[in-house]
C-alpha cells in the first residue's frame, strides 16, 4: 500500500513537469494555432542550458533556474519572430512543419555540440525527507512547490495584466481580438516566449531527478500532447488537469503492468476522448 502511495507521489512529480509543458503548448496553440512539436526538445535544451549555467553561477541552483528561464524565453521570442511569423499567412500545415523542423534542428544542434552521452545534473537538494513511511528528496518537493508557484504566477499574469488578458482574448476569439486592436505580433511573441520559458523551467526542475541527454524530450512531448488534447487544445485548466491524469495513469500502469503499457494506455485514453469529444473535454472550437 505504501508503495502505491509512493508511486502516486512520483506521478504527481511527473504531472508537474507535464503541466508546465502542456500549459506552454496550450498557450501557443490558443494564440498561434500551432501545435508546437518542438516543446519537448525545448525542455531538453532547457535542461542542457541549466546544466552548463550551474557552474557559471557557482552551483547556485536557483540562479541557474532563473537564468535558464530567461535564456529560453529570449530564444523563444526569436524563434517566433524568425521562424513562425513568416509562415503565419501560409496554409496552416506549413506552421506545423516549421515546428517539426525546429524539433529536428534543436536535437541536431545539441547532439552536435554536446554528443549523445547521458549526463547527471549535479543536485544540491538530494537529501531525503521522511513523512512516516513516505520517502522523498527535497528536489522532488522543489518540483511540486516550484510548479505551483510558477502556475500561480502564470494565472495571475493572464488575469491581471493587459498583456495576459490579450493572450486570453486572442485564444478565445482571434478575429474579435484583432478588431479591438490587439497587436498580434507582440502577443504571439510573448506567448511563445512564455511557453519556451515554461519548458526551460520544467527541464531544470526535473534534471536533478532524471538524466540529461539529447533525446529526453520525446517521451514527455507525447504525454504533454495527450494532456492538452484531453483538456482541449487552448484550455489552460484542461491542460493542467490532463497532465496530472496522464501522469497518474502512467505511474499506475508502470506499477501494475509494464512500462510499455503506459504509453499505450495514455495514448488509448487520448484516442477515445478524441473519438467522442473531437475538441477535448473542455475545449471549445
Amino acid at each position: 500500500m505504501i508503495e502505491l502511495f509512493q508511486q502516486i507521489f512520483n506521478g504527481i512529480i511527473l504531472g508537474c513537469i507535464y503541466c508546465l509543458l502542456a500549459s506552454g503548448l496550450t498557450l501557443v496553440y490558443g494564440v498561434m494555432h500551432v501545435p508546437n512539436f518542438a516543446q519537448g526538445n525545448l525542455y531538453m535544451v532547457g535542461a542542457f542550458i541549466g546544466f552548463y549555467l550551474l557552474p557559471l553561477f557557482g552551483a547556485n541552483y536557483w540562479l541557474a533556474l532563473l537564468g535558464t528561464a530567461v535564456v529560453l524565453a529570449i530564444i523563444g521570442g526569436m524563434i517566433e519572430r524568425i521562424l513562425f511569423r513568416p509562415v503565419r499567412d501560409d496554409p496552416h500545415v506549413n506552421s506545423f512543419i516549421v515546428a517539426l523542423g525546429l524539433l529536428m534542428v534543436l536535437e541536431g544542434i545539441v547532439t552536435l555540440l554536446c554528443g549523445e552521452a547521458f549526463r547527471t545534473f549535479p543536485s544540491t537538494y538530494n537529501y531525503v525527507l521522511r513523512f512516516g513511511n513516505l520517502v522523498m528528496t527535497v528536489q522532488r518537493v522543489i518540483v511540486i512547490l516550484g510548479t505551483a508557484f510558477i502556475l500561480s504566477l502564470l494565472g495571475l499574469f493572464l488575469r491581471k495584466t493587459k498583456t495576459g488578458t490579450s493572450i486570453i482574448a486572442m485564444s478565445q476569439n482571434r478575429e474579435l481580438a484583432l478588431m479591438v486592436g490587439i497587436n498580434v505580433n507582440r502577443i504571439s511573441m510573448i506567448a511563445f516566449a512564455i511557453s519556451t520559458g515554461l519548458a526551460g523551467v520544467a527541464g531544470v526542475l526535473i534534471a536533478p531527478i532524471l538524466l540529461v541527454y539529447p533525446h529526453m524530450g520525446m517521451a514527455p512531448l507525447l504525454i504533454a500532447f495527450a494532456a492538452v488534447i484531453f483538456g482541449g487544445l487552448g484550455s489552460l485548466i484542461g491542460a493542467i488537469l490532463g497532465a496530472f491524469i496522464m501522469a497518474i495513469t502512467q505511474v499506475l500502469c508502470i506499477h501494475f503492468a509494464a512500462t510499455i503499457f503506459s504509453n499505450i494506455a495514455i495514448f488509448g485514453l487520448m484516442i477515445v476522448i478524441l473519438i467522442f469529444r473531437p475538441t477535448g473535454l473542455m475545449g471549445g472550437d
Binding site: 509562415v87 517539426l100 534542428v105 541536431g108 552536435l112 500532447f225 495514448f267 478524441l274 473531437p278
Partner: protein
C-alpha cells in the same frame, strides 16, 4: 516546344541515363547511394499520396515503413518465405495497419490528426521493440536474406539489386501516376482543397481519406520491405519518427504534391549526412535546417518552383 514534348524528352533521356549509369560507376558505394535514394523515393511517393494529394500530414510513415520492413524480414527469416511472396504480404500488412490506424485518426482533423499519427508512430516502434521473440527487441534482426533468383536472374550483385529496386520504383511511380490521373486521385485533391465542398458534391471524405491512407501505407510497406532485404539488418530505430520526418523533408524539398518532387528531394539531400559523417551525426541538424529554409522561403519545393516558372 510544348510541355508534353519536353516531358517526353526528359523522361526518355533520364530513363536512358538511369539504365546506363550503374555500368559506368565502378564504385559500389555510388550504387549504394543510388539504391538508398530510390528506396527513399518510394517512401516519399507514399507520403505524397496522403499528404501531397489528400492533404493530411501523417507522421506515422516511419512506423508504416518499419512494419513493412519487419514483416518482410520475419516472413523471410522465420517463416522461410520467398522474397516474391514476402514483399507483397509485407506491403499488404502495412496497408492493414495503416487502415486500422486511419479509422480513428482520420476522424480528427488538422493538428489533432498530426498529433495522433505522431503518437501511433511512437507506440508502434515501442511494440516492435517489445515483441522480442519476433523482432529481436532492441538488438534487432540480422541476416535478412537477399531476394531469391527470379527465373534465371540472381540478385547477389549490387547492380542486380539496383535494377530490382529501380523496377519497384518505376512500378510505384506508375501506380501513383495512375491513381492521380483517375477520378479517385482527383477526389483526394478535392478533399485537400476543401473538405466540405468535396462532401457536398458527393465525395465521402472519410472513406476517401481512409483509402488514401491505406494506399499510402501499402507503398510505405513496399519501401520498408525493399529496405530490409537490401540492407539485411533491422533495428527498432529504423521505424522511428525520424524516418517519417526525413521523408517529409525530402518531399518538401522536391515539391509536395508532385511526382518528380519525390525523386528530386531524396536525390539531392538524402546522402548529405552520409557524406558529412566525419563531422558527427549531422542528420537531424541538416534535415531540420533544410526543412525550415524550404518551408519559409520556397514552400512549393524545387519542382513546384520549376512548374511555376514554366507556366508563366
Amino acid at each position: 516546344m510544348d510541355a508534353r514534348k519536353l516531358k517526353g524528352i526528359i523522361i526518355l533521356v533520364g530513363g536512358i541515363c538511369i539504365i546506363v549509369l550503374p555500368f559506368f560507376l565502378d564504385n559500389d558505394f555510388y550504387i549504394h547511394i543510388l539504391i538508398s535514394v530510390m528506396i527513399w523515393s518510394i517512401l516519399c511517393l507514399s507520403l505524397n499520396i496522403i499528404f501531397g494529394y489528400a492533404g493530411q500530414l501523417s507522421l506515422a510513415h516511419g512506423a508504416l515503413f518499419g512494419v513493412g520492413a519487419y514483416t518482410h524480414a520475419i516472413l523471410t527469416m522465420k517463416a522461410y518465405w520467398n522474397f516474391w511472396l514476402a514483399l507483397p504480404s509485407a506491403a499488404l500488412f502495412a496497408g492493414l495497419i495503416g487502415f486500422l490506424i486511419g479509422i480513428p485518426s482520420l476522424k480528427a482533423r488538422g493538428p489533432y490528426f498530426v498529433i495522433i499519427t505522431l503518437g501511433f508512430n511512437i507506440i508502434i516502434t515501442e511494440i516492435i521493440e517489445n515483441l522480442e521473440e519476433l523482432t529481436g527487441g532492441v538488438v534487432g534482426l540480422y541476416g535478412i536474406p537477399r531476394p531469391s533468383s527470379f527465373f534465371a536472374i540472381s540478385f547477389e550483385t549490387k547492380i542486380a539489386q539496383y535494377f530490382l529496386i529501380l523496377t519497384f520504383l518505376v512500378l510505384s511511380l506508375l501506380f501513383v501516376h495512375r491513381i492521380m490521373n483517375s477520378i479517385l486521385g482527383k477526389s483526394f485533391v478535392a478533399i485537400r482543397e476543401n473538405e466540405e465542398l468535396a462532401g457536398s458534391v458527393g465525395i465521402n471524405p472519410m472513406n476517401r481519406k481512409i483509402l488514401a491512407f491505406t494506399l499510402s501505407s501499402i507503398l510505405a510497406g513496399v519501401a520498408g520491405g525493399l529496405f530490409a532485404s537490401y540492407v539485411g539488418v533491422l533495428v527498432p530505430h529504423d521505424s522511428g519518427l525520424h524516418v517519417g520526418f526525413d521523408a517529409l523533408v525530402y518531399l518538401s524539398l522536391g515539391g509536395v504534391g508532385t511526382l518528380p518532387g519525390a525523386i528530386i528531394g531524396p536525390l539531392i539531400i538524402s546522402n548529405i549526412p552520409e557524406i558529412l559523417r566525419e563531422y558527427g551525426n549531422v542528420t537531424s541538424f541538416v534535415n531540420g535546417g533544410i526543412l525550415l529554409l524550404i518551408i519559409i522561403f520556397m514552400p512549393q519545393g524545387i519542382f513546384g518552383k520549376f512548374k511555376e516558372y514554366w507556366v508563366h
